[in-house]
Chain length 338, copies 2
């Protein structure tokens, strides 16, 4: 790019837009489908496809352990994975504020390209718009990614598959992404790195090991508490989490303690909760722990028999043995992290 | 919705987000796939799929003849159609500014739902984020839509199919959407209505009539001049447009005359340029004119023999018979219209 900052003309749809696309987006994202530059990309399909979308509005967009480019790929890839799909194609919609430095944009696009390569997904279509500057110190950027994955025949995962007696596993420690963003926003010199990561290696390992996976969900906005509350209310089953089993790193625990935050409602961007047949618990743990980003996986709870418990609720067994009812995240709670 | 304005909490991923989704989005968009509310929607697939994405940042978001809700569906549906696909599924990502009136949001969502029904496409996944208010008088909204369509076996349309002698057809008059937005932004009391519309009826009619369609592109940002320049440079052929054949409504022509604008570079949101086998010209005109939004279709040019003309260029034959070389839209030119 010969220009150092984004201008309104870069969003006009004319020659300046073409220069921006050629100078940054095509440079890092190019592949046979994207290079065709048509109104839509035509790609090989499959009998069952999964679709998802996510917009990313995190600020700052460079943070310890990652950036909005890595985040937007991980978020959409993980959403596809959680439906049991194999992620295949992404669209990449970019909304830039006038005045954004083009070298910051290039770093973000490069990071997105690297993360897409890691996750084995192809970016096949894109769009760029430019809006007025809102006074963002770094120049603002919003990214929307939408994804398509292929769902293998016969694979069916979802909250409606959850049964009494099932085991609940978390793939790793809670709250890092949230703490990394919040710390950076507060100007703290903390060393907590975001966990933003694509989870395809561990989901593949689960299915390859023959684990009977009932449901999976990645732990993002709203944290584990909100995800498990969704599982409980959508399945109509009672889920009991063991407070002392929840894995939280010491530095994140301290960070939460100082700020009065609950790690149960802190967002991650590289962790998933998975409900499995209880007979497959050890096999599942082994598959996740043997995968990248899964070494701290732990069994954290179970789906309770309905005769003893109110249906469709989320309960937390405290270290002293009491049972506390948990709701979803209420109110704003925390700054936007994705 | 019990709340009158969007709060940051509506983007938290917790209970307020659920209330917003249930109170507005699910109310208008509900269908079997979206209602599942998983991380991704699993839908029936096809052997060849088309994918596209577009972000919509138009202001004002209510304008004569339409709104951002109708626009975001038309834009993505039309991009799918232009690749020869039958539009099937959409994702809908919404970025709201804090303070946006919820009844304005509801009107937009309702309009999007009606347009999706008209276009025969299902909204299968969504996402909502809330960002700080930038001082937008109506409260701001940005929408990203990504679409998936099915491409029938054997159908192949694109600039690489364009051949010497082909005819160039426009489906209707130029510049209405652009003039509607620009007029509203300028506070003019003009009566020009946006042409925002889904073009599926006319593309279906073309294929049903057996027209040999080489390439189609909807006329949006950058206008017909930019679209035809893309066709010329991507095909390596020379395209000659007849200036006196270009259909422009009297009120749009007057509007352009007063402001010194060129209708060739004014954006539409419900028109397409189509290149067809010259033997099928009449059949194509009939098919488009018989379809909704196609009554003003006209033949506007041809693909010239390369021996007489420089390759890969766009030329305009003026009313007095001269030939002028046209480029794509250069610079910003015009306010953002989509």
């Amino acid at each position: 790019m010969t220009e150092s900052f984004i201008k309104m003309a870069h969003g006009s749809g004319g020659q300046s837009t073409s220069e921006l696309i050629a100078g940054i987006f095509a440079k890092y994202f190019h592949n046979e489908y994207l290079d065709a530059m048509g109104d839509a990309a035509v790609v090989p399909g499959s009998g069952r496809i999964a679709m998802t979308t996510d917009s990313f509005v995190v600020t700052p967009y460079f943070y310890p352990g990652g950036d909005i480019g890595r985040l937007c790929i991980c978020g959409t890839v993980n959403d596809l994975l959680m439906s049991g799909a194999v992620p295949k194609y992404l669209t990449f919609g970019c909304i830039l504020e006038e005045g954004m430095p083009t070298d910051a944009l290039e770093k973000i696009v490069q990071s997105a390209a690297q993360t897409a390569a890691e996750a084995g997904i192809q970016i096949v279509a894109g769009d760029t718009k430019v809006i007025e500057n809102s006074g963002h110190p770094e120049g603002g950027i919003i990214i929307n990614t939408a994804g398509v994955g292929f769902v293998p025949e016969g694979r069916s995962v979802g909250a409606d598959q959850i049964r009494e007696g099932d085991a609940v596993i978390i793939s790793g420690t809670l709250g890092e992404h949230h703490a990394a963003i919040l710390g950076k926003r507060m100007g703290l010199e903390n060393t907590i790195q975001s966990d933003n990561a694509p989870l395809g290696e561990m989901t593949s390992a689960l299915f390859a090991a023959g684990v009977r996976v009932r449901a999976m969900r990645d732990v993002t906005r709203g944290g584990l508490g909100t995800v498990m509350h969704e599982f409980a209310s959508e399945s109509g089953k009672t889920i009991i989490l063991e407070e002392k089993a929840l894995p939280v790193r010491r530095d994140v625990r301290d960070f939460c303690g100082i700020l009065g935050l609950d790690p149960l409602y802190m967002g991650n961007e590289g962790k998933m909760a998975v409900v499995v047949d209880p007979a497959d618990t050890e096999k599942a743990l082994e598959a996740i722990r043997g995968s990248r980003y899964g070494q701290d996986a732990a069994v954290i709870g179970e789906v309770a028999a309905a005769e003893n418990m109110p249906e469709g609720r989320l309960l937390l067994r405290t270290p002293v043995g009491g049972l506390r009812v948990l709701g979803p995240l209420y109110g704003e709670g925390l700054p936007r992290i994705c």
